[in-house]
């Protein structure tokens, strides 16, 4: 603190003696102040305006999604028509089964990726494995390589495996939910590991030492000290993985078999005719759903970070 005060004072006097009418530093400062105010407004506008439009157009009384023609709830009614005992439209049926596939794939992939990613993060931060630096940088690879490369290479990989299995055991494998889930786990592991590792690096290692000192064994230390402290990171990683997995188009498409259409694949398949507002309505419902989940996780996070022993 003391240092800062001195240096500020120093700059102030230097400027005063050199500049007469125009104070360059003050101008920069006031522009900066305006900038600090305007930037978040713009950022939030660009972030939320498209989503607001999507919600708005889910109430649009037209088959198109580009021109407003009045208010309706019929797209929401369509979605629930099948489950309410009415007659579901063919496209709605397809969309809902695609949503079911998406939730199935992404929830399983998220669970597996979160467990594996957390384990990698733990061994990278706490462990003492040879070649740690190399593994550390390889971890970022799935985050930076293009999705199409990942999708195609996985498809080739599975084809090789299936061919090998077929020639050695005679069992004929085909791509399906299994290969999609494995594909999702592959790219999700990195995201989870990176998030959890950041949390772990921020944690005070002395807490674990103290626990050991007080007679807790390694497992007890992990369950009672380490895991609760990194839990917000694990949840954040899992949510990230869930989002990425639900979004994924390319990896899913190249590794799917018959009957595996997921929601992103379905929405892309609408391009030939027209994207119906039912997709908007479903997206709005999913948005509502994820808002609830995120709110829930924020609540959890707050509860954990409020505990006194988390502060260094």
């Amino acid at each position: 603190m003391g240092n800062q005060v001195i240096s500020r004072a120093g700059v102030g006097t230097a400027v005063q003696t050199t500049a007469q009418g125009f104070r360059a530093d003050m101008a920069v400062r006031s522009i900066g102040k305006v900038g600090l105010l305007v930037t978040p407004i713009f950022s939030y506008f660009f972030l939320w305006a498209p989503i607001a439009l999507l919600v708005l157009f889910s109430f649009n009384d037209s088959r198109g999604v580009d021109t407003w023609r009045g208010f309706t709830l019929r797209w929401y009614e369509n979605i629930f028509a099948g489950t309410m005992g009415g007659e579901a439209r063919f496209a709605t049926d397809l969309m809902l089964s695609a949503l079911g596939n998406t939730l199935f794939v992404s929830s399983i992939a998220t669970v597996i990726a979160t467990i594996l990613g957390t384990m990698i993060a733990l061994s990278l931060v706490r462990g003492n494995i040879p070649g740690k630096k190399v593994i550390d940088s390889i971890l970022y690879l799935p985050v930076v390589i293009p999705e199409i490369t990942q999708g195609v290479s996985l498809a080739i990989f599975f084809k090789l495996i299936f061919d090998f299995v077929e020639s050695s055991t005679g069992v004929n494998g085909t791509p399906g939910f299994g290969s999609i889930i494995i594909g999702h786990v592959v790219f999700n592991i990195s995201y989870v590991a990176i998030v959890v590792r950041a949390r772990l690096a921020n944690m005070n290692p002395r807490l674990e030492e103290a626990a050991n000192d007080l007679g807790a064994n390694q497992w007890q230390t992990f369950m009672r000290i380490t895991f609760p402290l990194i839990l917000p990171g694990v949840i954040a990683g899992a949510l990230l993985a869930l989002t990425l997995s639900m979004d994924d188009l390319v990896v899913t498409f190249f590794n799917s078999g018959v009957g595996n259409t997921t929601l992103p694949v379905f929405v892309h398949g609408l391009i030939k005719t027209s994207v119906t507002p039912e997709v908007n309505a479903l997206s709005t419902l999913m948005l509502l759903f994820s808002t609830v989940i995120v709110g829930f996780s924020l609540f959890l996070q707050n509860r954990y970070t409020d505990r006194p022993y988390n502060n260094r």
């Binding site: 021109t67 085909t174 799917s256 694949v265």
Partner: protein, 363 residues
């Protein structure tokens, strides 16, 4: 965890299926050949590129299960099939893709004796260059690429491609390499499917020189720009403009296939090589070509039908059948062309030339 319980509940909610009905939604005297009960048919198509009850009725008539998966472009379908057929019986590609798939051995041969309903298809839609003798495909729907325009903004009627490039108004091009080059090549008097590098270069120069009135190169949303008044003319697919005309219920939006060089495209049902159930796939083809069925598909997807029997029986909605994107005069129809498979070398020339057009016009 509460989240997972919620997820499971949602899954359960969506997996509730409606009770099976015993009557088909569309009345038809088509009968399923016996012996297919309990079997499965796997279809690969665009998401909403089919009638509302087409699949459900077929399941009912034949006692089979239909798996329906979707893709988003012909190229993606091609890529998937090149990897090896993961287990689909039939797909719905565009004409030139049928050609590529046929040449690459990705299609199986149809026995037309299994498809008596092919007699319902107009002769002009059969035995095309992309599949001589219909050995691998049967016609599904067709469509055109032409000019959508706002007659009030333009001020006069449009009948030729040249007028699009000369007009003093705002124009949207279609982001389709071969379509745009086909148009330019037609105007210059060349073969729209040329493989000649000099002719392609000339078409490129024509496009660049005449790009002054272009405000957008639209990837399939030119019809929306037109409807919103962002542009006055859009080079677009007839079906898309037709949809906007129906939606806006207005007089000023028009669609026209130019008297020379309109682009025509076919969607066919193809029999995929290495599919698990080729017999049932051919039963499916015969079912789709039944007039009532193919009519209901066209009335849903709003792409014109090649099923002459359905048209003659008056099964197609009249407004649609008489609209400018369907009722195309015979002399105009004769001057249309298909975009054909020109092989990878020429394809590269086209793609490079189109990139140059896009860069030099800055769109």
């Amino acid at each position: 965890m509460r989240v997972w319980i919620a997820l499971a509940l949602l899954l359960a909610l969506f997996s509730v299926t409606t009770a099976q009905e015993s009557e088909t939604a569309i009345e038809t005297d088509w009968e399923c050949p016996p012996g297919f009960e309990g079997q499965t048919l796997s279809l690969f198509n665009w998401a909403t590129y089919i009638g509302e009850n087409t699949v459900a009725d077929f399941e009912l008539l034949c006692g089979v299960t239909v798996l329906y998966d979707v893709y988003d472009s012909d190229e993606v379908l091609l890529a998937r099939m090149r990897q090896g057929n993961p287990g689909y019986d039939a797909a719905f590609p565009t004409d030139y893709i049928v050609d590529i798939m046929r040449v690459e051995g990705l299609l199986a041969e149809i026995d037309l004796a299994n498809i008596p309903n092919i007699a319902n298809i107009g002769e002009q839609y059969l035995d095309q260059n992309f599949d001589p003798g219909n050995l691998h495909s049967v016609p599904y729907v067709w469509g055109t690429t032409g000019i959508g325009y706002n007659i009030e903004a333009v001020g006069y009627e449009i009948t030729e491609w040249e007028q699009v490039f000369e007009c003093e108004c705002r124009v949207a091009w279609l982001d389709s390499t071969r379509a745009m080059f086909g148009i330019a090549l037609t105007i210059l008097g060349y073969d729209p499917n040329t493989t000649d590098a000099d002719e392609i270069a000339a078409a490129r120069d024509y496009l660049i020189e005449n790009s002054g009135n272009v405000v957008a190169i639209a990837a399939d949303d030119g019809d929306a720009l037109l409807a919103q008044g962002e542009v006055d003319i859009a080079i677009e697919y007839g079906g898309d403009v037709g949809q906007q005309i129906v939606d806006c219920e207005c007089e000023e939006l028009q669609y026209v296939v130019p008297s020379v060089g309109g682009i025509i495209d076919f969607t066919s049902i193809v029999l995929l090589a290495d599919g698990p159930n080729p017999e049932l796939a051919q039963v499916w083809m015969d079912y789709v070509l039944q007039p009532e069925i193919q009519a209901s598909i066209t009335n849903t997807v709003l792409y014109p039908t090649p099923n002459v029997a359905a048209i003659e029986a008056g099964l197609i909605e009249e407004d649609f059948q008489n609209s400018s994107s369907v009722a195309i005069p015979e002399e105009v129809m004769e001057e249309t062309f298909f975009i054909e498979n020109v092989g990878p070398d020429a394809e590269l020339l086209y793609n490079d030339a189109w990139d140059e057009v896009k860069i030099l016009t800055g769109l």
